[in-house]
């Protein structure tokens, strides 16, 4: 039994390559697990059944950078962790995005000292910043949806 006999004649949809690619990228974005502090707990909460990040196509968080295209930096990054963060970012396949979750990842937060990187944008290029200490799961989901909006606006000329 084919799909046609179940749903009837679905007809033809015309669209642009740009739209199709951006649509598929936004709806199957796999985040890299990068929980570093209390923000990671909220990230788990966003992934769990109450908030259910899977609704936005983020079906599972990968522990491997090779299988993911979104890095959610959840927590403060120490100076010792910074090279690790950059290496994991470099290992991710293109296209890739970075979301700085929480105040610490965005600007150092309350940790204004020698040991903590004052914002991960010093180490990796960040697409979306989510404020909060830590942000609630709604905040993280809002940040991710904002990133989706950004990805949907990407142009075919920028891919190459």
């Amino acid at each position: 039994m084919g799909l046609e006999s179940k749903t009837g004649n679905m007809g033809v949809v015309t669209t642009t390559l740009e739209n199709v690619v951006n649509w598929s990228r936004t709806n199957s974005m796999w985040p890299l697990l990068f929980g570093l502090a209390c923000c990671a707990i909220e990230m788990m909460g966003a992934q769990a059944s109450n908030y259910d990040l899977s609704r936005f196509g983020m079906e599972l968080n990968r522990a491997s950078p090779r299988q993911s295209d979104l890095m959610i930096v959840a927590g403060r990054v120490s100076r010792k962790m910074a090279p690790v963060l950059r290496q994991l970012y470099d290992q991710m396949p293109d296209p890739k995005w970075v979301l700085a979750m929480g105040d610490c990842a965005s600007c150092g937060g309350v940790f204004n000292n020698y040991a903590v990187v004052q914002g991960v944008d010093e180490v990796v290029p960040v697409d979306v910043y989510v404020s909060g200490c830590p942000p609630r799961p709604e905040g993280l989901i809002h940040g991710i949806v904002t990133l989706h909006e950004k990805v949907k606006k990407e142009k075919i000329t920028h891919w190459a």
Partner: protein, 170 residues
Amino acid sequence: MNETLEQIVKDMKERFAAQITEYAGDSTVILTPEYLLDAVQTLRGEHNFNMLIDATAVDYWPDQEPRFHMVYHLYSMLNNLILRLRVPLNGNAPHVPTLEKLYPAANWKEREVWDMFGITFDGHSDPRRIVMPYDWQGHPLRKDYPLGYEEVQFTFNAVEIDKRKPYAKE
């Protein structure tokens, strides 16, 4: 004070010229670095202090001289006693003998003290940093170490600071 502990403290006083202070039922034995190894060996061998709970340090700069105090907490499982040893150290290249031979657990604890305070441990088998990156300069928990404060961006100076902020490239 516990009777057994009283005996031990008295022993320390007589054999290793230790000073004793007591606060809230806890005794502290203040030793000079020369006597440290012998004293700990005695405590471990004769008085059954078979566990090193903690080895840490304090920096009293600029209030006190000598500047550093090396602090050891020993625990006797047999007698259920805790004893604190303190070793005052001069700020100029402070060093104490390592306790690694007596308590293997001292290895990492002393590495951390070296990393944070710059107190050298003579005879330590693996004198690397443990908390900070290996190429780090300085010892952050010293009181004269700068905090590395970065200017906070407010609305009136955000643009100006943003200009000289080092952003990462793709």
